[in-house]
Symmetry: C2
């Protein structure tokens, strides 16, 4: 099996690592515009060889793990190069724009739109880890547009990686993911900014930070090159979720200003049920 990984960072590199363990006979080809990342991926044994689009005719599986804006320009070119029996998967955090842009591609049946809900706040080949996908959800969109035997090949691979599959339409995906992922990143980035801005004037503030702060700003370490295009492609849903979040923060502030501490207690108590909900989420640790 010849597997091409286009974008050898956290997501593609972690997948390559597991595929190599599961399929020792597979040959992993790395493609990346970042020459340093490609060298790192070789040195880390994530890939067997460096390659270019001109080699894509050899591929059985192509995993595309690049920023979502680059997906729009690169996946059509990749599809142009592959043979008819190759399946191309993406791993992007937005699905509607990509699915729409590929609708009329003559090799649409060779493409499977995926979003494995897995990752860490780190990026690049050195961030790749084994078993990143074990127990995680992989959301697949417009499955019916992919050739049946290529669906089968991809699903077998996902099963081997330990992922559970959910099918969803691209619009529903983008709407839901705005709330459970994209909004968390913004809340975290802006929390980090608020505290850093304060720290400019007030020395020593970070000596007082504990593990609670660390947990809530963890995502503010994420890659801007990855995330700015995600917010761009999912702008409407992200703006909606931000509006609702800001409204809730404002309402909480109003309770404080009005000294309504019973109201504040109730807000927190009602939200405590997140405990039960979180029990169902598989974590990386």
């Amino acid at each position: 099996m010849n597997v091409f990984v286009v974008g050898v960072g956290l997501i593609g590199g972690s997948m390559a690592k597991d595929i190599k363990r599961l399929h020792p006979e597979a040959k992993i080809y790395g493609v990346d515009t970042n020459v340093i990342h490609l060298e790192e991926a070789m040195a880390l044994d994530l890939i067997d060889t460096k390659a270019g689009y001109e080699d894509l005719g050899l591929a059985d599986v192509v995993i595309v793990s690049i920023p979502v804006n680059a997906m729009l320009t690169e996946i059509p070119k990749i599809l142009d190069q592959i043979n008819d029996d190759c399946v191309v998967l993406d791993a992007g955090s937005t699905k509607a724009a990509l699915c729409k842009s590929l609708d009329d591609h003559e090799k649409r049946r060779n493409f499977l739109a995926c979003h494995p809900i897995a990752g860490t706040e780190f990026s690049g080949p050195s961030a790749a880890i084994e078993n990143l996908y074990q127990g995680k959800t992989n959301i697949i969109c417009e499955v019916e547009k992919t050739a049946f035997k290529l669906q089968e090949r991809a699903l077998a691979l996902f099963q081997q990686l330990g992922m559970r599959i959910r099918y969803m339409n691209p619009e529903a995906h983008d709407k839901h993911i705005a709330y459970v992922s994209h909004l968390s990143h913004i809340s975290s980035f802006m929390l980090g900014k608020t505290v850093i801005d304060k720290e400019r004037n007030e020395r020593d503030i970070f000596d007082m930070a504990g593990s609670g702060f660390e947990s809530t700003v963890r995502l503010a370490k994420s890659s801007p090159a990855m995330w700015a295009p995600i917010f761009e492609q999912n702008k409407e849903n992200v703006v909606d979720s931000l509006d609702e979040y800001i409204e809730n923060l404002q309402a909480f502030k109003e309770l404080l200003v009005k000294n309504d501490y019973e109201g504040i207690y109730d807000e927190m108590n009602n939200t405590n049920k997140i405990k039960e909900i979180l029990k169902g989420i598989p974590l990386n640790k």
Copy 2:
């Protein structure tokens, strides 16, 4: 050494656990208005015996770890009962109101105002863990108001628990902690609320949540009985920090609405330096 723990939950229970390991000869007395917690603390071996305020004359050290509103009424009563050679410590997340309320107490010199920056999102005796305080910061306020030999006794204990000490005035403490702790809790609670409210109408949303969401809403599991009084006592600082946070979120939203993705990239890129800052924070895991 007779150690009284008033409030046998996460904070007091964890301290009792370490003290017992470090001082096998110490006798730990547990005091709590919650009879079930007291029984749990006995069963978990956090305390050696149940006690009441009438026994406080025996105490060498009293650790008060109860909600910060209860501190205001209980610590004066505790000070009334202790002998002259006993030191009373608190572990509250706000310091100004408490310090002010004790200013004129005739046993003020027996009290040391502390805030160990340590904890988890869990509460109650069963949440108590060993080594919670190892490597953590303990902020001490108005140290000069405590009798010198009682300061020494408390500091020796903190050193044995592995804590580093920082001295601060109560007002500076409350202002800084609003940013690095209290605000994180509100951002997390309101993120949880925003997503739960959405989930009411939209099924399956939580199947899409990953470890990033879990990290940012972890603090939304925290105890409302603990946190409502903290927000009450630190109202002004918390409102200021919330105003700045909401302003930053609004500005981020405006960038999105204006399609200024370069601006969005820059915001995230500037906040990425939180990576370096977080390296200095000791974590519980």
